[in-house]
Amino acid sequence: MNGAATVRERLERALSDRYREVHVDFGPQRAGRISGILVSPDFEGLTTDQRQDDLWDVVRVTLGAESSDVSTIVTLTPDEYEDLRP
């Protein structure tokens, strides 16, 4: 089962397990390195350094050597994400 899942699918599943009410927006591109936005109320009260530390712990534990397939991921609370709407 795990062997058939793509890196993207495995990461999305791990993020859903780790964070509450998670919303993942990795953009329209399906090829190339994974990059985009991760939204969860779990980021409230955390500094941006703490958010990234936590996220990258999940990435490394989940993907190991394939972590290099992941690039920048912006970590926002739901309120911060809502403010991005035009």
């Binding site: 990059s35 936005i37 690039s71 920048t72 991921i73 926002l76 911060e80």
Partner: protein, 139 residues
Amino acid sequence: MRRVGSPREYLDAAADRAQDSKDLYRTERFGGAIYLAGVSIECALHSFLPSGHHLGGNHNLALLSGAGFSQRLAPRRAKEVGRILTDVMIRWNNGQRYYPTVLTERLIKPRVETYRDAKGNANFLVEAAYDIFKQAFAL
């Protein structure tokens, strides 16, 4: 009027807007400094978009970055730049060009732990713009 289109022109525009932002910061025009710092980052990210992309009118910095800049970034820099982009996106959006400085300050202040005032926010964004800009030039 000719449309800006080449990666070099976008990178030059990023440098110009970053300098404009610093100049406004020095003269304590913090609302303008904040807005132009964000525009500078947006221009830098535009310079890495592949030809034929469909993000021309999009101001979402994370998506703009993901389509080009983030693809070329060294894996060891991904976490650091993800943090910088997060800090910038908490403090900036394209709609701020319509805001008086006092509104920019009021909207941002409750959500940024280290935020003190418009001056501090402008300084942070100006420095972040330069960080992204320098990395863009290094790629």
